[in-house]
Assembly symmetry: C2
Homo-oligomer: 354 residues x 2
């Protein structure tokens, strides 16, 4: 392979489901959740072999310093950081990724990855990437995660005919199913979780955007070209970027194009969407507690404790409860009510605005 693969890390979004860990100022990808590295550091580190060039990052304007500091600390200084003045969904991100790739090295494949996913088998992931490289010369390859259980919180990709060993045509993109349907998917063996990871050649993505989402491409290109460059920083032009239709790359391109493929793989993938996943994924003591940071557990059972830079967190006689302590807030909530955390996040935001 002539050119190295260009990792483009999507670091947008500022989920409220992990408040007070994740805040608009420092969303979850900038925190050490599963390991001692932050999630964006883990993302960059697993794409740091010989076949990868230094990453491009696409993030919000307020996060440049965090991105730069965290990646520089692990010797993966970004070669370009594209700053979005506001979020415009993933079709715009795919366009920006393709335009960046074309500018940096039109021959290089672009690997577009979210900054906030857990992948516990990085070697398997690297292997899948290399295996998909040939196909990615003329198709947009997406990575399908072999489901481990009938998850109803993710979209699924149904695969069709085999294109080459282990790589398939895409039959359909499917919305989040109910439990019965999810169970059928898992039993059938033709459906994988849609992880939102893509490998493509810049010109292929640009052609498909041009065909299926021309307005997204046109305004993204103008925002990119009229953007203000300052060192590795490129601030997208706000006026043009505001005109980019807000739509997902799945909807705008992947569900329509025939130049797509899926590579089902088992890479220990997880989307830490909320605290329940964090507890499920975390290493636990014999009483089922997952604790990070200084903590005191007395007759605590199946608890999740996250203490980030705070004084000791003592949990006495509690069961199935999460206690999150950060400089932004303290949260106490039953783990099975993790979906209500966003209500607390909204209230905290309202308080901060007072």
């Amino acid at each position: 392979m002539a050119s190295k693969i260009l990792p483009v890390i999507m670091s947008g979004g500022s989920g409220t489901r992990l408040w007070p860990l994740s805040t608009p100022q420092a969303p979850k990808q900038f925190h050490a959740l599963a390991t001692s590295n932050t999630m964006i550091q883990e993302t960059a580190l697993r794409l740091s072999g010989d076949v990868f060039s230094l990453p491009v990052v696409i993030c919000g304007t307020g996060h440049f310093d965090l991105v730069n500091a965290q990646l520089t600390r692990i010797a993966r200084s970004p070669q370009l950081v594209v700053l979005e003045p506001f979020g415009r969904n993933t079709a715009a991100v795919a366009a920006i990724a393709a335009l960046s790739g074309q500018a940096i090295d039109p021959e290089a494949l672009v690997l577009l990855v979210p900054a906030d996913h857990v992948i516990t088998k990085p070697e398997a992931f690297a292997e899948a990437i290399l295996k998909a490289a040939d196909t990615a010369r003329d198709r947009i390859v997406t990575f399908g995660i072999r489901p481990t259980h009938p998850e109803t919180g993710f979209g699924y990709i149904q695969h069709g005919a085999e294109l080459s060993e282990g790589i398939f045509e895409i039959q359909a993109f499917l919305e989040k199913p109910n439990l019965a349907t999810a169970t059928e998917y898992v039993m059938g063996g033709h459906h994988d979780w849609n992880a939102g990871i893509f490998l493509f050649s810049p010109h292929v993505m640009l052609e498909e955007l041009n065909t299926y989402a021309p307005e997204v491409l046109e305004e993204s290109r103008k925002a990119y070209q009229a953007g203000a460059r300052d060192g590795v920083r490129l601030i997208l032009d706000e006026g043009h970027f505001a005109k980019v239709p807000s739509t997902s790359v799945d909807y705008a391109v992947m569900e329509k194009t025939r130049r797509s493929a899926v590579i089902p793989c088992d890479i220990g993938w997880a989307d830490v969407g909320g605290f329940a996943e964090l507890w499920r994924l975390g290493a636990k003591d014999e009483a089922g507690n997952h604790a990070q940071g200084t903590s005191i557990l007395i007759e605590a059972e199946n608890c999740l404790i996250q203490n980030h830079d705070g004084p000791p967190v003592a949990v006495v006689g509690m069961k199935d409860v999460m206690v999150i302590s950060t400089p932004s807030g303290v949260l106490v909530c039953p783990i099975d009510r993790a979906q209500d955390v966003k209500k607390a996040a909204e209230a905290a935001k309202a308080l901060a605005a007072l």
Copy 2:
């Protein structure tokens, strides 16, 4: 009455049952628990009428700055702060109080009060003090709290014959009873809670100490006389103070002397010994939550939230739980397990010593 009454505030002790609010550096009397003033401020404020002179405080050597700053802020600057190099129980405190009173104004009655009690009816308390003043010329008067329920956590005082209207001889001091006995006490009407508040003339207390606890008096006097004076500060001599037998004023004097009296009163008294009492005493919202400091309550019920100088505390879907957040720690514990808080305090102390 010729002389003003001299309030002597006992500010020793550093209970672990209110960790992380109460710490050895700043025990509970220095915190705002029930009101917006700290407990020692409330104590000084309720003894600030015309009949009281500025207070004397007896406290640990490490607490001078806190005492001085907190009392100065409310215009009750202490006229003397006696610093104990270590605790020697309440008999020594009574001796020091009497010696201080004798030095400042031998004619003035001394009112010896703990710094960390809640009294919600200060007018009734002031009335009881004035009513007891004559008797206190030649007896040590203690304030008996009319019991509101059969509490098993306090000692009781049984009163005997009436000396003057509403003031009685003391029949017996009784240890913490079981529930059946406590119920009998409450029904009988002759027993009151022992609040550890005393009104006496310095020479009477000194005479009774001399009779019943001569060693306590002798070494306390030496520690006082050999103490280092610096402004309002008097640091007790460590060598002599170490020789003072550690015993309570109840045991050393009150249970033996016949020069005692009790004035049963209803002054809204409470000893905030732990978080359960704090929740019971606190003002509550319609869901039974008592919250102090910035908090976010979402479907919380009968919870106690104390946030001292921390980021917002969010409590989602919890019941009967306390969440305490201070710069010293975060504590999460069911309210009915408040007695286990001291275990967390000990663990935190061990952590801090690492």
